[in-house]
Structures are given as C-alpha cells and as structure tokens.
Amino acid sequence: MEKTTYDSLHQAFRQRVEGLKKLPPMEGRDKSIEETIEEAGFSRRDFMKWVSAVTAMLALPATFSPLMAEAVKVADRLPIIWLHMAECTGCTESLLRSANPSIDSLIFDYISLEYQETIMSAAGWQAEENLEHAIERYKGRYILMVEGGIPSGEMESFLTIGGHGKSGRAIAEETSENAAAIFAIGTCSAFGGVQAAAPNPTGAVALSEVTDKTVINVPGCPPSEKNIVGTLLHYLLYGTLPALDAYNRPKWAYRLRIHDLCERRGHFDAGEFVEKFGDNAAKDGFCLYKVGCKGPYTFNNCAKQKFNQGTSWPVQTGFGCIGCSEPNFWDTMGTVNEPLRDRLYNTVFGGLGADATADKIGVGILAAVGVGVAAHAAVAAIKPPKV
C-alpha cells in the first residue's frame, strides 16, 4: 500500500515539474540554476546534498531527491512579492539568515524577490512602480508572501503605504487577487500576532481575513528560515496546497508538538525538572516544564530544525517554548515562566483540530505529571501573583 501511495505522489510531482518546465523563464534570466549555483562556488555534489536534506525535511523518501532537484531547477519561473504590514521585520530578518547551506538564499535570489521593502534598492514612486509592474507582468503566477498583521475596520488607516496613502489592507487585498499562492509568513500575518493581542488597539487581523483565497500559514515569531524556504519548495513540488492542519499550517513542519521531539523529553518522562533558572537542574539540562515551557501545547519543528543553522533553539538555551506559532499565544499561553497548571486538561486546541489522538495521549501523560507539578509549585522560589 505504502509503495502505491508514493508512486501516485511521485507521478503527480512529475506532472507538476513537467508543467513548470513548459513555462517561459523569467525575463532577463538566461542561466540555469545549476550554472548560478556553480558560479557561487558550490559543486553539483553540494547541490545534491542540499536537495537530499530538503527532501528529508519535507518528510519525503529519498527516492524523491532527483525529482526535487528538477523542481528546484525550474524555480526561476516563480516571481515573489513580499509585503510588509503591521510588523517588526523579524520575519524578513529570519529569511535573511537563511544560510546553511547558503544555497537557500541563492534560491531566493534566483526566484527573484520582485518587491521586498527591506532589501529593495528602489524607494518612493519607483518602489510603487515595481509592485505595480510585478502584479501586472506576473498576473496569476506570482507567489505572495506577507509579513505582519493588518489594521482593519475603523483603524484601517493606521497603516498607509505609498504616495497615494493607500491602506495596508487595500494593498494586501489587491495583491492577493492575482497571486498563484499566498503564504502568511509569521504569526502576525497568520493569526494577527502581537498587535492583535488584547485589546487589539489597531483592529489587526490575519491575512486570511482579508482575502477569500486560501492562505497557507507559516507561523512563528519569527518562523525559522527553514520553514519559510521549505514551504516555498513544497509549493513548487506539489503545485497544489500542502496538507494543512486545522490552522492552515503545513503538516510537514507543524505536525508534531515541540514536546514530542524535545531533546529534554527524557527528563520530563523521568520527572526531572528545572525548579528555578540557574539552579543545578538547569545546569544539567532538565525539563523546563515547571519554569513555563509551552512545548506541550505548541506545534512546530523547532526541536528538529533549530535556528540559525542549527546553532540553538529556545529549549536548548534553557528558557523553554513560549508557544509562538500558536494562534493568540500572547493571550492564551499564560505567564512565560510558569506552567499553565489548570489548563493541562484543556489545551489551546480545546479538543479541536490538529492531531486529536496524539493530543489525548500527551494530555494523559501531562495530567499524571501535573499533580506533581502542582505540589512543587508551592515551593518554587518565584512566587506567582495569586490567581
């Protein structure tokens, strides 16, 4: 059975890649991506190594690697428009970190960012022109990536861009219309994010609320560069939307809980916890649940992919997860340095969506430990305000 499934998948990808190959290359591009890669000092071997890594990251068997390599080669058929809404530019910065292998960023250069306010040279009217031209020229073909929440309702004008004073929302709506695919990059664009936290003074909403089209959410504050690039490659290969969870997050990246893959999970199961930052348990790398880790409620691949080319991730640094790829996490995840306590039986999903079965199993384990945690909370040095 397994083989048949992959066979049909392989066939579908093959069709997709052949289809892409038939499209004309973008204007001004006369080199293949392999040539470009070679010019940048990478060998074909480097390229194939990278392709294998990406294939594995997307949870596909190694037999898909050659096809993935072909798909990457036709990547130059896809222009990208990246919009900045109400944001902090952290997602752009994350994209710029894309490095190891640094072909990631090369791919981005090659794919061509037609409009990206943080790095584009043009400004003012000339910048606006670039956006208009890109929308017109690549109608129905460009990928739209949006960073930031979108001020709406009476507060719509709390963000305007350009000499005509157009609202951010209007620009997002217009640009969405003719996009081939739409990615909400980061928690703000995916779910409204920090500015949408109570009391949401600017009426900020998610990108999915300003367009009827399907929006693929790539949340995280910011999402890792791997998840940004991986989502793009996934689209390239499938040509259709990836398998999504209840919050429209690609399952290949957001299928599992932080807790499920955590390097400190053994300590959780063994009941070994850090009680206070800097204590001996912290020096030994014990579980951070009692100092507020929200890994059990958060779906993301941080534990596996880490950040900054595998340098570290929040659990490794002894802080724990704050749940930044979950909707409304600023309002639902409680105090950062304390466990959620009474919410053990009622995760942010409220029994809905995501992987309900895994959720139940995990909750069972958590509930058992929860009793111990509650008892220990009384002697914790950090006194929480009374609830």
């Binding site: 001004g28 952290g90 710029l96 400004a123 206070k276 790398g285 105090t335």
Partner: protein, 578 residues
C-alpha cells in the same frame, strides 16, 4: 515655484516611513516633514500583563534591533523590583549585545544604506585587476577583493543588469545618479563586500543564538538574569562564540572600516552628505559593561556641537509632546506619567512631483496639523540626536581614551577636520568606528566571564513580586541606534503603565509646539536635490540615521483612554488584578 516631493515608502529601513519636502526653484529644500505611517500600540497591550511577560512582548517592537528592547525592558522590570542580577548574567548580556551591534551595523551599512553610496551598475564597468590593487589603499589585508573574486562578483551582477526589469531587488533604483562618487573600481570593491556581508550577518546572528537560542527574537533573558547557564558553562560553546567573533573582527577591520575610509575620501566634496546637520545636540548613555567597573560607552549630552563641555543627564527633564503627532494631548509630559489618545487626521489630497518629473495627484502631509505617529521627545525642551555619532561625541567630550583614540585616528587618516563629523558622512562613519570599538574591546567581557565562572556559577537572581506594592523603574542605555529607555509601573502584580523612549523617536520626531524641528527634518532643510524625480539625497540623509520606525511609534500610553479599558482573562492571560 516651490514643489512638493513625496518619498513613500522609504525602503531599506525597519518600518513604514514617509519623507516629504518642499523644494524651491533652485532645488534646495525649504521645508521638510517626516511621517511614520504605521501604529501598532504595544504599550497598550502591555498593560495588565504579568511583568515577566512584558519584555518578550516589547521585544516584538522590532525584529531588527531584536535584542535591544528585550534587554532594556527586562532591565526596567529589574530596576522596578530592585533586583541586582549576577555578574555572570551581566557579562552574557554584554556578549549578546556585541553580537547585536556587529550584526546591526554591518547590515545597515551594506544592505540598507550601502546602495545610497554604491552604484551597483557602475561596478560592471570596473577593471577587476585595478580594483584588486586599489583595495590595498584602504587597509593592509583587504577581504573579498582578489581579482578572481571581483570577476566573479561582476559576472553575478551582470546577469541582473542585462535587463532593467531583471534586476530583482536592485530594480528601478536611482542608478547613475550624479551624486554617486565612487569610481567603478571602488563600487566593485564595495559590491563584493555587500555580498560578503550577507554571509557575515548570518555569523553575527549565530553569535547571538549561542546564548540567545535564536535570532531574530532571542529568548534567554529572564527577569533576574539569563537562562543559558548550560551554554555559559560549556567551553565548546564559549569557543564557538570566540571564533565567530574573531571572524567578525576581521571583516569589520578589513572591509567595513576600509570602505568607510574610501567613502570619506570620495564623498568629502559631495555637498549633499557634507552639509552641516540641523540639530547639534547629542545625548548618549553608559553601556557595554565589560568588567566590574568598566563600560565602553559614556553618559552625558553636549549642546550646539560644542565638545568642550559635557553635561550629566537628569532623567526627569525628558518629556514628549504631540503637537504634530496623531495623538490628542499636545502638552509635554514625562514618560512615567504620559497620557495620550490616538487622533488620526490622515493625509490631504494634493499633488507632488511624480516619477517622471511631472506633477501628479498624491496624498500629502498637512504641515499645519498632525502628520505622524511619532511624538517629539525633548530634553529640557531641546531636541537631541542619539546614535553612534552621539555616543562617540559624548565619549570624546568625556575624554574616553578608546573613543578619543579612534576618532582622532580616523580624522588623521582621512585628513578630515572634527567638524566634518557633524554631517551625514560623519554619522555613517561614526557607526563604523563604534563597530570597531565593539569588535576590539567587547571580548574583555568574554575574558571577565571565563575568569568569573571559575569561582561563581550564578546566572539568575531570585526575587518576589509583592502584589500589594507599587513599583516603578526604567531600563536605560545605548543600543545600536542610540539611547533607549523603557519605563514601567507595576501595581497589583501587573504592568500598570508602559512607555518606551526610543532612539528613532528622538531622531525622527516632528516639530514641537514652538516650531523646533527634530534631527531628520532639520537635516533635510537646506539640502540641494539634483533631480526631483530621483531624490537620492533625501534617502541618503535619512538612512544615515538607521531608521527603525516600528520602534519609534511606540511611545504611547492610553491612561484614561477608551482603548486602555480592557481586562486580560486571568485564566488565559495568567494575570489578574481584580
């Protein structure tokens, strides 16, 4: 007749910014207005939350200076609660700060500000062999300027240049503008460094991630210290930091500082970057602790460009007002007690110079009314410039040995007079000199940390928050863009009031009630613009401040304002004051 020129969006910055100028027939700017066109209101959101959650929330003010707000906000809470953090934690914070400074300054000069100085299309005409030799004029061991390397750089860019629409992110810029001063060979050297810097910024980000878990938005500061005790006590981890740091050191000396010298040589006669600046008051605050009593930067302020006298800062004299800002109350107020209500009046229908030089319809600023989300901070009624230049000038006036040595050395090498520092070029050079100081002296903090962890392994202090008490405190210091202050009041165990007085607010704020301009606006007045449809001069001046506009617009409090009345669900928000 005077014409209006609108530049919106100003790209290659953090945030959403517009500059508008009125230009006379002679091409000289008569009036200037700078407007931030986005408001997010994070201070409103901070209210009612657990003080331990606030620093992470404030960090989201900005993903570029991602560590600055996290640090100063954590320090504000610690100051309020009277916590003294362990020495180890202070040193780790310094090491993370060093990573931030190096990252920020390198990215700013090459990727954000660079193409204001470097004409990428001109680099294609360069002779790589000549350029390769030329690079030795600016430093002994230049990086990325071997002939073969330069040929490769040219080939990469030539691919883009064939078709103007194929330039991707480089498309449609002001290429060929007559105020570009580098020769083709110099442009090629700088372009090669632009590409190299993409790699270096990743390295600097990794340096921060070693102790911070990730970057952007590191996550290892806790109220009371740091969480990354395992990394601090791991010699392999420490070594990793040191090796990356040394690579950054090499790049800063042999590329960044060399390119700045090259810019000083070629742009010294370009009026648009040598024009004396409008506001000549500068302020900075002590920061960068490298050992028990040693800090790299000094506190103080100077007035009217006079470095013969330096004054101590009295924080009570800091105020903010909103005469031309989209908030209702205009009066100057101290940040601890500010009351502000959003009052958006929008832009007005008018016309301005279009991309082809003809007048076209546009939405313009109404200079009589309110026109920006940024308020006007003042010190004792005076506008102040903050940032690396302010840091160096105050340090110079304080006779700080290292700062004096670096500034004098630079002036000697370039043959520029001290007064040349009071310009766009001076501001850009100061940033590089500051990076040079950080890269040569921040490792003292590393050595102090290694020494201290031999006998002391504390990384986090304990504390309690008494719900029956009221607290107030602030976190203050100089971050890459200048002096940053976060102010917090805590009551009933939750954040009662929050304010941030941010570097870009000092620099980008509008006129105040008596018509005194802030640094951006004052600097634009008198600027001559060669081609109204390609206002490169404006962009260059504004970029020299390294604008961070999402930061600037957060100076905001809605006490007594409708927006301020809300309650965070105690169950979900983890906080409760009722």
């Amino acid at each position: 007749m005077s014409k209006r020129v609108v530049v919106d969006p100003i790209t290659r910055i953090e945030g959403h910014l517009r500059a508008e100028v009125v230009v006379g027939d002679d091409g000289v700017v008569e009036e200037a207005y700078v407007s931030s066109t986005l408001w997010r209101g994070l201070e409103v959101i901070a209210k009612g939350r657990d003080p331990r959650n606030v620093p992470l929330l404030m960090q989201r003010i900005c993903g570029v200076c991602t560590y600055s707000h996290y640090l100063k906000s954590t320090m504000a809470v610690e100051d309020a609660l009277g916590i003294t953090i362990p020495y180890n934690a202070e040193l780790v914070r310094t090491l993370m700060n060093a990573a931030l400074f190096l990252h920020d300054h390198v990215v700013h000069f090459y990727h954000l500000h660079g193409v204001d100085w470097v004409d990428i299309t001109s680099a294609l005409k360069a002779d790589p062999a000549v350029a390769s030799k030329l690079a030795f004029n600016y430093c002994k061991n230049p990086i990325g300027t071997g002939e073969n390397e330069l040929i490769k750089v040219q080939q990469t860019v030539a691919k883009f240049a064939k078709n103007p629409q194929g330039l991707g992110p480089f498309a449609n810029a002001y290429w060929g503008h007559k105020t570009y001063r580098f020769t083709p060979e110099q442009n090629l050297i700088a372009l090669s460094h632009y590409l190299k810097a993409l790699e270096m910024q990743r390295l600097a980000a990794q340096m921060m991630a070693i102790f911070g878990g990730k970057n952007p938005h590191p996550q290892s500061l806790v109220v009371g210290g740091v969480s990354c005790v395992m990394d601090v006590l791991d010699p392999a981890r420490m070594g990793e930091y040191m090796v990356k740091f040394k690579k950054m050191q090499e790049f800063v000396h042999n590329a960044y500082l060399a390119d700045i010298k090259m810019a000083a040589e070629m742009y010294r006669d370009e009026p648009s970057v040598m024009k004396p600046m409008g506001v000549k008051n500068f302020m900075s605050y002590r920061d960068f602790k490298v050992s028990r009593d040693k800090y790299l930067f000094e506190s103080g302020y100077i007035v009217d460009g006079s470095i013969s006298e330096v004054f101590d800062i009295n924080e009570d004299l800091i105020t903010e007002e909103a005469t031309h800002s989209w908030y209702a109350d205009n009066e100057p107020q101290h940040p601890y007690d500010g009351t502000t209500v959003p009052e958006y009046t929008g832009l007005v229908n008018s016309e301005s110079v279009g991309p082809d030089g003809k007048m076209i319809h546009s939405k313009n600023i109404n200079p009589e009314g309110k026109y920006t989300w940024i308020k006007s901070p003042r010190y004792d009624g005076k506008p102040m410039e903050v940032g690396p230049l302010a840091c160096l000038l105050v340090g110079y006036a304080r006779n700080n040995k290292v700062i004096k040595e670096r500034v004098d050395g630079f002036l000697k090498e370039t043959g520029l007079p001290l007064k040349a520092l009071f310009s766009t070029l001076g501001r850009t050079a100061a940033r590089a000199l500051q990076a040079g100081i950080v890269v040569d002296y921040a490792l003292e903090a590393f050595d102090s940390l290694v020494e201290n962890t031999k006998v002391d392994k504390e990384t986090c202090a304990t504390y309690t928050i008494d719900n029956s008490k009221e607290y107030k405190g602030r976190g203050i210091g100089d971050v890459p863009r200048g002096m940053l202050i976060h102010w917090i009041r805590i009551k009933n165990g939750v954040c009662e009031n929050y304010q941030a007085t941010v570097p870009s607010t000092w620099n980008a704020g509008p006129k105040d009630a008596v018509g005194t301009q802030g640094p951006y606006e004052a600097d634009l007045v008198g600027l001559k613009i060669a081609d109204l449809s390609q206002p490169l001069e404006i962009i260059r001046v504004i970029h020299s401040y390294d604008p961070c506009i999402a930061c600037a617009v957060h100076v905001m409090d809605t006490k007594g304002n409708e927006l301020g009345r809300y309650k965070v669900d105690p169950l979900y928000g983890g906080v409760c004051n009722t």
